[in-house]
Each structure stands twice: as structure tokens, then as C-alpha cells.
């Protein structure tokens, strides 16, 4: 088989394999890198106020010190932490809170007694940006009961 033929087959293979993630769509949890579906930012946003929500996770250790937790502290990517744990935690999913405490106690520098999820809503207005602070979610909700 000539070099030219082998290269042609390889090109067809690479191009053809790109059909796989389209025909067998996995959503955001793709497991065929580097053959990916390329649907990015496909959703449209309706006319009206433009609002975005951000979340901050604060851990309080048993000696009372608080620190901001980033994705690096728990060993995940930023979107992975947000979609897998912060959003469910914000909706009141206590298993997400428990997972985060367990993970921080395993890999972090100190023992975590409490987690606080602070949520902020940013609204785009003509004069700039308006920030609303939403209710804080705490884990464990009742520290005495958790002990």
C-alpha cells in the first residue's frame, strides 16, 4: 500500500470518527476526546432582563477560621465543581454538601466544620450592574445534629 493511500485512509478515519459523537450524543459528559460533538453555547436567551448567578463556597474549620474554596481545593475543574456540586447544593441537595465536606477533609489543610454557599445574582442595567445577595445555604444545617 502506498504512503498516499495510507494517509488517505487515515484522513477518512479521522474525519469519519467525528460522526460518532454526533450520532451518539452524550451531552456535556463526553467520553470520546478528541472526537467531540461541537455544540457550544447553542441555547438562545429570550429578550428581557439579563441575569447571571454566581456562587462562592466558604469553608469554616473547627478552629473557626474561614477560607474561600476554589475548584483547585477539591481537585475538580471549575465547571465540574459548579455543575456537579455547587448548583445541587444551592438547591438544597445535602448529599452534595456532604461530598464537599468529605472531600475537603480528605485533601484540605484542616478539618472542615461547616460549609456556606453564598449566591449572588448580577443584573445588567443601563447604568451598570446590580448585585443581589440571595439566601446563604449552610451544611450541615444543624451542626449539633451532624456531630
Amino acid at each position: 500500500m502506498s504512503v498516499r493511500t495510507r494517509i488517505s485512509i487515515l484522513i477518512l478515519l479521522i474525519v469519519g470518527l467525528h460522526a460518532l459523537p454526533v450520532l451518539s450524543y452524550q451531552g456535556t459528559r463526553q467520553t470520546r476526546w478528541p472526537f467531540l460533538a461541537w455544540a457550544m453555547y447553542a441555547e438562545s436567551y429570550p429578550p428581557g432582563p439579563i441575569e447571571v448567578v454566581t456562587r462562592q463556597l466558604v469553608a469554616t474549620s473547627r478552629n473557626g477560621t474561614s477560607r474561600l474554596i476554589t475548584y483547585r481545593d477539591v481537585g475538580l475543574s471549575s465547571p465540574g465543581l459548579s455543575s456537579g456540586y455547587l448548583r445541587p447544593f444551592g438547591r438544597g441537595d445535602t448529599s452534595a454538601g456532604r461530598w464537599l465536606v468529605d472531600r475537603l477533609n480528605r485533601v484540605g489543610p484542616d478539618s472542615v466544620a461547616e460549609l456556606r454557599l453564598q449566591t449572588f445574582r448580577y443584573r445588567l442595567v443601563d447604568s451598570g450592574v446590580v448585585v443581589d445577595t440571595l439566601p446563604v445555604v449552610v451544611y450541615p444545617a444543624n451542626p449539633q445534629a451532624a456531630r
Binding site: V3, R4, I7, L10, I11, I14, V15, H18, V22, T28, R29, Q30, T31, R32, W33, P34, F35, L36, A37, W38, A39, M40, Y41, A42, E43, S44, Y45, P46, P47, G48, I50, V52, T54, R72, V74, G75, L76, S77, P79, G80, S83, G84, R103, V107, Y122, L124, D126, V129
Partner: protein, 299 residues
């Protein structure tokens, strides 16, 4: 070509070793293992390879391979090892619940370079070949030219066209024409630039400009493939691609550095005549202006 794509990636965009180690030591298992990681762990257990020492060793192997590829010593094997290591690190990062697109086409391109006549010119391999030919008294008939040298560029051009088309068409299928209502782009930018990127924050407030840029985005992504059939105009599409990704980066923080690198590589090397001609024109124009500029103009 190989000097640019490997050198730039190694210097600025190669996966961070500290981040890789952080992921490996913080997690006890992969959440969504990618194919290359599944293959590697089938041979070597996770506890052996995915340790600080194991990852550091692979990192330095990839740096050594990259350096050899840049100077052109054992060029093709070095490119192959570099591509495998690069793919390994990116696959490792994406095996923990989050997958992104920027590095995929770059990997295909480096693999393709490893299977092309890369290193036949501007390399230590070429110098050594010439020296060997001289010492044996043979005249070196190898011109360093090959009609197979361009296929990695053609391949990446096709892949860029496919992926841009897929992205553009998906926006139209999922979001509909409403995707171009301006609010969608304002939201997408605003979401990414809170407390960052003042240029993005300014742009998020410009509704009419966002409508124009949304239409431009859909047109660029959906019709980039036209450049495959208009090779004379293709460099303009690549320049557009480079500006598109620079714009995304400076307004929304989307770090498609590898796409910038690929578009820039296509712009420079795809047409051997176009870029040098434009470059010389630019130099001449600048020289002409500076020669004609009044002496006091600098003040």
C-alpha cells in the same frame, strides 16, 4: 511549521503540571475516563502512573520530545511522542467530569505532522543527512521538497471547517434565529465577564453591536467551510478565524489558544505565496509612510 506549532504550545499553552498533579492526588478515581486514559490504565494501574512522580516523569518526556521536534532531531518520532504525551495530559484533565474543545484539533495536527515529511528542512536531521552525503562523496539530491508536506495543513483546514460548521448549525438548530437577537450574546458575554474583562463588560451593554456580532458569528461559523473551495480567499478566512478567537478571548475569556495557533499557522503556511507577499506589501507601505512622513509628525 512544526517549529511554530510545537514551540508556541510548549512555551505558553501546554497543560500545567501542577494542575495535573492536583487532579490526580485529589481524586481516587476517574469520573469519565477518556479513551486514552482507559487504554493507559488497562496497562498501568492508576496508583502507579497517576502520582506526582509518574506525571512529572511524563511531563519531562513530553518537554524533551517537544524540544527535539523543534530543533528537528529524530523529528518524526519526537513529534509522535510529543503528541501522545499532549493527548495523555489533556485526556487526564478531561477524565474528571468536564470536557472542553480547544486542544482536540491541535492534537490531530501534531499527529499528522508526525506522519508527514516534517523535519526534512530546517532541522538537525536535514543537516546530518547532508553531512553524511558529503562524507560518503554522494551528491545530496534531496531538495527537502515533498508534495506530501501540505497534507497536515489540508487536514486541519477540513477539521476546522467541520467543527465551525457543526457549532454554527447547532446554534441555528437549538437556539433558532433567536440566537441572533442580541440578548443571547449579551448573556453569554455577561456570564463570563462578571468582575473580569472590562472590554467584555462594555460589550455586554451594547445590544445593537451584539446583534451585529451574533450575525457575524453565525455567518463565520456556518460558512467557514466555503474556504475549502476558494483557496485564493482562504487566508482571509484564517485571518477572520484568528480575529474571531482573539475577540472571544478579550471579551469573554474563552481561551481557544490552540485554534488561534492553528488559524495563524494556516494563514502563514497554507499559501506559500500569499503571506510573504502581504508581509512585504505591509513592510513597503510602512516604509513608504515613514519615509514620506514629515519630520515634525513624530512630535
Amino acid at each position: 511549521m512544526r517549529i511554530v506549532v510545537v514551540g508556541v504550545e510548549m512555551l505558553w499553552f501546554f497543560p500545567s503540571l501542577s494542575y495535573q498533579i492536583n487532579l490526580a492526588v485529589s481524586n481516587t478515581a476517574f469520573q469519565y475516563p477518556q479513551p486514552l486514559i482507559r487504554l493507559v490504565t488497562a496497562i498501568v494501574p492508576r496508583e502507579v502512573l497517576f502520582t506526582p512522580a509518574g506525571l512529572t516523569a511524563i511531563y519531562w518526556v513530553s518537554m524533551a520530545a517537544g524540544l527535539l521536534a523543534v530543533v528537528g532531531l529524530f523529528t518524526r518520532p519526537a513529534l509522535l511522542v510529543y503528541a501522545l504525551c499532549f493527548g495523555f495530559f489533556v485526556s487526564h484533565e478531561y477524565s474528571y467530569a468536564d470536557v472542553h474543545h480547544p486542544e482536540a484539533l491541535y492534537l490531530f495536527f501534531v499527529f499528522a505532522l508526525a506522519l508527514s515529511p516534517a523535519g526534512d528542512r530546517l532541522s538537525l536531521d536535514a543537516l546530518l543527512r547532508q553531512r553524511r552525503a558529503r562524507s560518503t562523496g554522494r551528491s545530496n539530491v534531496d531538495t527537502g521538497l515533498s508534495d506530501l508536506a501540505m497534507w497536515p495543513l489540508r487536514l486541519v483546514h477540513v477539521l476546522l471547517s467541520m467543527t465551525y460548521f457543526s457549532t454554527g448549525v447547532t446554534k441555528l438548530l437549538v437556539g433558532g434565529f433567536q440566537w441572533m437577537n442580541g440578548y443571547t450574546l449579551q448573556y453569554a458575554i455577561f456570564k463570563n465577564v462578571i468582575t473580569r474583562q472590562p472590554l467584555g463588560m462594555w460589550l455586554a451593554h451594547q445590544h445593537t453591536l451584539c446583534i451585529v456580532l451574533s450575525i457575524g458569528t453565525i455567518l463565520f461559523e456556518t460558512f467557514f467551510f466555503v474556504s475549502l473551495f476558494l483557496p485564493r480567499l482562504a487566508p482571509l478566512f484564517f485571518a477572520g478565524g484568528l480575529l474571531f478567537h482573539l475577540g472571544l478571548y478579550y471579551t469573554s475569556g474563552h481561551s481557544f489558544f490552540e485554534h488561534m495557533l492553528l488559524n495563524a499557522t494556516l494563514l502563514i503556511f497554507y499559501d506559500p505565496v500569499w503571506f510573504p507577499t502581504q508581509w512585504n506589501r505591509l513592510k513597503a507601505a510602512l516604509g513608504f509612510r515613514s519615509a514620506d512622513a514629515p519630520i515634525g509628525a513624530a512630535h
